[in-house]
């Protein structure tokens, strides 16, 4: 909704406004987000996101335990890209302590991370549709997602909180069954995409609900530090995997999908295109899978690093995820700061949600794909 309508509303003869608490208990608030909405009828005049309902003090916990003990926590910061966070932490520690990673482990990491990204996008796809009222696509997505969870379960032993990475490698090797399962999943997903397109992308109701809704301009996105698919939907081709390649991402050929309109539809399209790109990366990685060890010969239990400050960033399913580690040379971090993409996106919410309708609030919050435990940490 444009600001003209808002002005008209605000110029009303008398102010008949009210406050509406959306969340923390609300069927379609992601996690425990609470939005305090100042409303006039169906229109939102002001919006104040209130966070902290899922605060578990991950950063503080990092200061009280050794690096390896913090490892299981990383999957729980953003439970939807647990694998990416887990491996990002390992990579950060490896960078800090100068641990070498076998090549095969690096490639396996890329494969499981990209599977995790597809899984996260599929879940987003389903819940976004659920937010705007379509229930069936949610279950179709979960059917696909279940395959990925099965594949990752087979290799890591867990479906959501993987703890798969270890300093210098990964816990378990992938086998031929994993490779064939992954390949058949990629084929299956590609076969399902036209179905999703017919059911969702081309659906006139869906397009009407998303087009022009919740526009985040490039300037807004830059001002709030918005990254990930939301930023790319606004037209900036920024992806950590290309901008500062980590791991072995520089070997693979993939594109950064972008759109320029910055609305819910653009964010939707960017994510769907990203799933396709992830498929491409996985295929290339599977084709060129080197042989060799997956872990260093001796498990790294104590991390030895020089005192100092280290920063390591990866592209999670939601954007630029950074780990800023201050080390005092001991095995326990003196401070770990997590830069999570959802937090930046959420801080742009008051600007974006202003002057929208209550149904759009749900659609916009759904489309930016925030994960609340990641915001609260």
């Amino acid at each position: 909704m444009n600001s003209g309508v808002l002005d008209t509303l605000q110029r009303g003869v008398e102010e008949e406004t009210y406050y509406l608490n959306m969340g923390p208990q609300h069927p379609s608030m992601h996690g425990v987000l609470r939005l305090l909405l100042h409303m006039r009828g169906e229109m939102v005049l002001e919006c104040e996101p209130i966070i902290g309902y899922a605060h578990r003090a991950h950063e503080k916990m990092a200061e009280n335990r050794s690096y390896i003990q913090f490892l299981p926590n990383t999957s729980r910061i953003d439970y939807l890209s647990g694998m990416i966070y887990n491996i990002a932490f390992c990579q950060a520690i490896e960078k800090m302590a100068g641990i070498d990673v076998p090549e095969r482990a690096e490639v396996i990491r890329v494969i499981v991370c990209e599977l995790n990204r597809i899984q996260s996008h599929l879940l987003w796809f389903g819940t976004f549709l659920l937010d705007i009222g379509g229930i069936t696509p949610f279950l179709y997505c979960f059917d696909d997602r279940e395959e990925i969870l099965g594949i990752l379960d087979r290799v890591s032993g867990s479906r959501l909180t993987y703890s798969y990475g270890r300093f210098g490698g990964v816990t378990a090797d992938i086998d031929d069954v994993f490779i064939s399962q992954t390949r058949s999943f990629l084929d299956r997903l590609r076969g399902r995409l036209p179905m999703y397109e017919g059911l969702v992308t081309k659906n006139v109701i869906f397009r009407d609900r998303c087009k022009g809704v919740g526009v985040i301009t490039v300037d807004q996105a830059r001002a709030y530090g918005v990254t990930g698919p939301v930023l790319r939907a606004s037209g900036v081709a920024y992806d950590v995997r290309k901008a500062e390649p980590y791991g072995v991402y520089d070997r693979y050929d993939f594109e950064i999908p972008t759109r320029t309109s910055g609305d819910c539809l653009a964010r939707y399209e960017v994510r769907v295109a990203e799933m396709e790109q992830s498929c491409r990366i996985i295929e290339q990685a599977l084709d060129a899978l080197p042989e060799g060890a997956i872990e260093p010969a001796k498990m790294v239990k104590k991390v030895k690093s020089a005192a100092g400050e280290y920063y390591f960033a990866v592209e999670s399913a939601r954007g630029h995820f950074g780990m800023y580690i201050v080390s005092d040379g001991t095995d326990v971090a003196s401070r770990i700061k997590l830069r999570t993409p959802s937090f930046s996106v959420m801080s742009a919410a008051p600007d974006v949600l202003k002057g929208t309708m209550i149904a759009d609030v749900i659609a916009i919050v759904g489309s930016v794909d925030v994960v609340l435990p990641e915001i609260d940490r």
Binding site: E42, I132, G133, T136, L199, I205, D208, I358, A359, I362
Partner: protein, 343 residues
């Protein structure tokens, strides 16, 4: 022409008693069936199984749910408008029973038969939104209030295409039923009489669906909106308004709203069957069988649509009604009137 209960039983009290009992039974069974059916249809579409535990393939699940609802405590929130809050479920539910009694489900027997049946159905249909508004307003809950306001705006908007599209059928009945055979005589068919509408289709051997496809589509969409079915379920949009107008209702009060929703669906499908699908008309099977088959086919379509589409936004809903459905139904009505005049 179907004989009514008043024709069969000379004592009006007995007739009314039997009528109410029959309608309540049919509506209750229908609700129990429809809830189970809705869950099964959604499960089939979504590659799930749906209820499987209670009874054969979960057929008794809704009965169990109903018993649970009856046993639940009725929570009354603070600060409510007591009369409105307590009356609302009844106001929503009562017109449903009245409307259901108007349906001519067979060529031989009907519960009632009036010459203004169509008008009465729309009137009782309009009642539901009053009840919803009372419930939403009286609940002292902002979500409920929003749902109630949406519901009223939606019902008023969609009644117009609903009535306009059915008017073209009324015109056709008037034109095609000039020599309408009834009880051995020939009369001019009454376009507002539901039995006459069906009778004309049966006697002419043509369903109005074939003559008025556009009117049927508009009517069906408007029925979806009137009965608050997805994709027009914005008064109770669960992802936006939690449960909309019945957020604060619990136990059997909520059960009555639920009952009314499924009964409204049933009635909407019955009216569509009468107006466009020839009611009891059909070969081999007896009239009521055809009537209920067609009705449940339409109910199935409503469920199918619900489990396929996302929900519209409030302003889009209005734009759709006033920008597309109303002009199209007026156009359809004008063309019908013109053709009726010409031929």
């Amino acid at each position: 022409m179907p004989r009514t209960l008043l024709d069969i039983f000379p004592n009006p009290l007995i007739a009314v008693g039997i009528g109410i009992t029959a309608v309540m039974t049919v509506l209750s069974v229908n609700t129990l069936f429809c809830i189970w059916f809705e869950r099964k249809v959604s499960a089939w579409i979504q590659l799930r199984m749906g209820p499987m535990e209670v009874g054969f393939h979960g057929t008794m699940q809704t009965v169990a749910d109903m018993v649970k609802l009856l046993g639940k405590q009725l929570v009354t929130p603070k600060g409510i408008d007591k009369p409105l809050y307590h009356l609302a479920p009844i106001v929503v539910f009562a017109p449903v029973v009245a409307a259901a009694s108007l349906m001519p489900f067979s060529e031989s027997v009907a519960i009632t038969n009036t010459n203004i049946g169509l008008v009465l159905v729309f009137m009782f249909g309009g009642f539901a939104s009053i009840g919803i508004f009372m419930g939403g307003w009286g609940s002292n809950n902002k979500y409920a209030l929003l749902g109630a306001m949406r519901s009223v705006a939606q019902n008023i908007s969609y009644e117009i295409p609903l009535i306009l599209s059915s008017l073209s059928v009324v015109l056709l009945v008037g034109a095609m039923g000039r020599e309408f055979a009834v009880d051995g005589g020939v009369i001019q068919a009454n376009g507002m009489n539901l039995a006459h509408i069906t009778g004309v289709q049966a006697q002419r051997g043509v369903w109005f669906l074939l003559l008025q496809p556009l009117a049927f589509i508009i009517f069906f969409i408007a029925v979806l909106a009137e009965t608050n079915r997805a994709p027009f379920d914005i008064p109770e949009a669960e992802s936006e308004l939690i449960a909309g107008f019945h957020t604060e209702y619990s136990g059997m009060r909520f059960g009555l709203f639920f009952f009314a929703e499924f009964s409204n669906m049933f009635i909407g499908a019955m009216v569509a069957t009468i107006l466009f699908l020839g009611g009891w008309d059909g070969p081999v099977l007896p009239g009521p069988a055809w009537f209920f088959l067609k009705t449940y086919f339409l109910v199935f379509c409503m469920m199918w649509i619900r489990w396929t589409y996302p929900r519209l936004r409030f302003d889009q809903l209005m734009t759709f009604a006033w920008g597309i459905l109303v002009p199209l139904s007026i156009l359809n009505l004008l063309i019908t009137a013109f053709l009726v005049k010409v031929f």
